[in-house]
Symmetry: C2
Amino acid sequence: MAEHTLVGHRVPRIDSLDKATGQARYTADLTLPRMLYGKVLRSPHAHARILNIDASKAERLRGVKAVVTGRDTAGVRWGVFRYTRDQQLLTGDKVRYIGEDVAAVAAEDEETAMEALELIEVDYEVLPAVFGPLEAMQEGAPQIHDHAENNINIHVPIEVGDVEKGFKKSYHVREDRFVDSEYTYCQTEPYAVLVNCDLSGNLEIWTPNASPHTKAKALSNLLEMPLTKVKVRRICTGGAFGGRSDIFPGEFIAALMALKAARPVKLVYTREESFTSVRQAHSMIVDLKTGVRKDGTLLANEIKVIMDGGAYSSTGPIATSVPFLVWEETYRLPNVRFNGYRVYTNKPVRGMYRCHGRAFLGGLGMQLDMIAEELGIDPVEMRLRNALRTGDTQATGSKIISCGLSEALQQAAEKSGWKEKRGKLPFGKGIGMGANGMMVGFPMGIRGGSSAMIKFNEDGGATLISGVVDTGSGNDSMVVQIAADVLGLKMEDVNLVSADSEITPLDQGAYSQAAAFVSANAAMAAAIDAREQILNIASDMLDATVEELGLRDGYVYMKERPERNIWMGKAIRKALMDDTPIMGRGSYMPKIDQTREWVSNPKGQQAGTFSFGAVVAEVEVDAETGQVRVSNVTGAHDCGFAINPMAVEGQLEGSVASGGVGATLLEEHYWDGGQMLNASMLEYKVPLSVDMPQITPIIVESMDPEGPFGAKEAGLWGSMNMFQAIGNAIYDAVGVWIKDFPITPDKVLAALEERNRD
Amino acid sequence: MAEHTLVGHRVPRIDSLDKATGQARYTADLTLPRMLYGKVLRSPHAHARILNIDASKAERLRGVKAVVTGRDTAGVRWGVFRYTRDQQLLTGDKVRYIGEDVAAVAAEDEETAMEALELIEVDYEVLPAVFGPLEAMQEGAPQIHDHAENNINIHVPIEVGDVEKGFKKSYHVREDRFVDSEYTYCQTEPYAVLVNCDLSGNLEIWTPNASPHTKAKALSNLLEMPLTKVKVRRICTGGAFGGRSDIFPGEFIAALMALKAARPVKLVYTREESFTSVRQAHSMIVDLKTGVRKDGTLLANEIKVIMDGGAYSSTGPIATSVPFLVWEETYRLPNVRFNGYRVYTNKPVRGMYRCHGRAFLGGLGMQLDMIAEELGIDPVEMRLRNALRTGDTQATGSKIISCGLSEALQQAAEKSGWKEKRGKLPFGKGIGMGANGMMVGFPMGIRGGSSAMIKFNEDGGATLISGVVDTGSGNDSMVVQIAADVLGLKMEDVNLVSADSEITPLDQGAYSQAAAFVSANAAMAAAIDAREQILNIASDMLDATVEELGLRDGYVYMKERPERNIWMGKAIRKALMDDTPIMGRGSYMPKIDQTREWVSNPKGQQAGTFSFGAVVAEVEVDAETGQVRVSNVTGAHDCGFAINPMAVEGQLEGSVASGGVGATLLEEHYWDGGQMLNASMLEYKVPLSVDMPQITPIIVESMDPEGPFGAKEAGLWGSMNMFQAIGNAIYDAVGVWIKDFPITPDKVLAALEERNRD
């Protein structure tokens, strides 16, 4: 497999045509015979006790086929870990945020369902509510959950080395506070779910999701049904960004209604519901204290983060530790103390969003620049001095098996004209850098691996059955590209069956940046297994050894005498006749220290490998209006190996938009207490094409020893670095540090005014 | 696997609840977003040249999205074999029967499609037509196809031994002619097809079918698309009886329209269309000449069959030889000459129906009785003397590896009280016997085998991916039962993914009685492969050898110390963590001499094995009205081994109804030239529950050395024997031989009158 026909080449994605023309089908597009339409009654109160629910009038309305309330849930609660099971997905005793699911109706049509909602009478006893994490942690604050004193959902303490000694030995110490607002995923596709059930107890679910197996397992637990009966089906997912992995009330409620009515039920959220009642990103307050040697080498870090988790745990516990992990995955941190708090408030539930904790990463990346300036060190040099290298061990114990961070930093600096520009541009223009490391795969036990199977058609085509999930980032194309390359086929000759929890083997899905590393490795192994079977048969037919043979363009040929060849379909037919049909199987499990406490107490190898990146942003700041425009982005990313360079570049572009420009400059939610004020596409600002900078992507290939063909990941690149790069560039442009995200014009103006006052 | 928890036990079918409650989904139930409704314009003429088709008005009608005619077919013709490709599935130059597909329309709704049909102007030049095969073979008859002189579609000559010498040596020779009318499958589900296409060139097809792989291959050929792009989906099939295996114009036309409109198209036939424009069973004229020794041993057979094939080949060539094959698979035939002719007429197309050529089988079975009477031999004894036995070789060369025919004959005679009743019942009551052998699997090359895969869920459940197809006979349940038995699971712990040409490996489908023998063998092999993987892992965990371990109730246990055990889910999880996930694969290819000429010139091993059966029917004949009532049926069948005795018995009951009582006494089509007169459920008589006899099934187990657990098949049992048994019983009751099927009251009365006249 020395020469590649597909891998490493720029190839168009297999779903491009369907997506571009609107032919792709999403959950809301589906209908089933006898399908009912569901609607959810939501809490108007941020915090209230439910004294009584009377649904009898709704139940009697003509056309209503099922009404469900908390009474139908058997009190079962959802949480990712045993100790975070705090959410009854259709609430029972209390409501804890405005928009929480109180009851739901399935009816013959949407209008009847909505009419029925108005007939449900709920008696609330309104309780005092709390909306900020600092307030929520105070003595005497309203207690949102009985079990959580001071409303602390999770506290993650991590300590490595001797932090006090580190600070003592430091030449320079600096402390800053960074804060960030809530924002949402704003996927183009609104949340929707369709559930079908049959009398044999099978449940089929279609919903935008990043992992059918994870959804199936959660529903299997919540509904107390075996996994063989819970079938999450493949369906297009219109964007995920971390927000389609967890289980949501909608899936559970639709399943309850389908089971109760014994008919299919579809639930399509309004845009407002998609904003308030699925998931959002955490807001946070980050206190950073950093001590360095005179040369800028990091000696000690003390980090305290307080995150607003909203009303329930969701995947929040992961969001509490991961920002720290990602930081230690970038730089050498000899002495570090981290205290992360996720706090309950009476606001919607926060889950995982792209890389967790942007304020955290952005803050640290900006603080590095502040210290660099104070010490008279170039920010690029500052980063290079602290950057992890191949062979290093991170603070909590992970080994780095491949690392192109230094190269990424150098290349981004070089290609962006860093030396010529940094500190030398006219007032109002600036350049800034950000850098990151990223885990590839979490310690998810059996859910961290992937398996794949390949079967063949008699005409030489193949079907790859893989658990891989594509939420828009091109994973489907990737595994097809790999299998086709290994098998010497064209991409259109390899058919993909994926993302169906019934048919495909276990796979974590589009989660923890593992698809290119784990799912692709499994697909590659299955293809290699099939390849060996084909070569074995062909070696008989061509009277050659397996080693003498190659696969290309659907033919098996002798490498030294390519005119001696057979059509692959012939080998496949012979295998069928010989009763040894070609069926490839393969799997991959990353080499991780599997500990149950990886979230609260990470120790040992935390990921199969790590990717690294650096981004340089150039901005133009209008000192009159406070408006910030990102004009250029030069990003260098160590993705290990670019299976499809076009896809890697596309990932940068996407993350520069949604995690980058949007989250840094535009996106946030406004609140009146617990009431979200801008739950619409008109009022919630995402970057448009006019807001996008010129992007120059640079691919760094560290050829990971474990990755398929050396590949790692390319998912979060820009979104992890743009906060840092833009914040630093603004300082370079106008000389102010904005530590409060998003960096909106009013904040820029206020900072400029303050500086002018000084 | 000595003791079976499931195999050999009476277990309910996995689809019973869905089928009984109406929850099962069929093609006509489906809708897709933007789906169009198709309608077909059919020929009003039995034979005419198409001078011109003007569809422009239809194309301009608002709501019409595609109109297709023969011009859209690129002239491609369908036929099972290269030499029988005679049907352009949307006709071009000519129409050859009333109801033939001339043009089709896809529109936003059914009403618009029907309105559009009326706007299509077709100029016909009506040609003379011919409706009977004897007339069609005469010089000067209208020639239906240019290539077919005397309208002979296929002539199958078979000669074994020295027939002339055989007759010369015979003690007794007898000649008879038997005739049979056309009838139809009359599946409860009308024919329907739904086709979806996308811009990447993928085609999805839902249609009632007995083999998704066969349909996919045919469509792939006809549409010149690779198999990877043609995806025939799993959908419930409401009865097949041989009539859902071939490719039909509907699938092709719906695909053409979907491709043209770039939207999904659904075509649902009316009941009349389902009768006239899919397929029917052949009518035939059978001349039988048989020579025997004094003791009844068969010495020579000369057989001539003329079958009315209708306008096109379809699977007709198979129907021409198979009746003969089935006969040689029952009795020792030392010298035999067979001449089968399938003749084109201007009537709808005839395909395969249960066992091909009932009149043929019924006639031979009745002639045996006639000869027995003439020689004074008991019919049971007559059959026993000629019956094939294990180790025998059939006339054309197939070896019999297991045979319970003699036992079936004896048991059916004994349990029915044959000795006490035969010739001894009062006038009007009678008893008769029929017997059969049956090939299990045709020489279908790569399409004759099956493969299967099994993957496991972390909670111990499994998913079996098998190409098996269930058209109502319980094949799905069968493979689940086998896999669960081998894996020590409950049936509900094994999930089946089947009958999808994209996902499942190649399998011939519900065809040639091969599901229990071939598909089940493959599923069993995959389960055994997985079982070995589980036992290997468990042997480490339990510190025992693989041989010491068993699987039961989801646990691996030590056979000698069952208290030492582990939950299978634990072994599955360990395998996942160890990166050796359990994935079973297995296949089976029957041991057949694969010759391309098996239809026209059968030679060598024609099937993997053969099943055998005998049926005794008791009838009451009302000499006043001619009405025949079948009161009792005692059937004994050598199915090899009964995987699910309840299912084997169910197969007898079904075939006694549809192939048996219905075809022998009730079912036939009436014609006015080429116009079918009774194309409705009201006018086409099938047996109702009141027509059903008391049935006593007897299972004979010859334990086939190749079959899974010894199993062969149980599909056609009653339908092959009831003609013979009823015909013979009527003679026993009232002393007349009716050689013209179906045996309707008028024929009985006429025969009684004639006898009284003599």
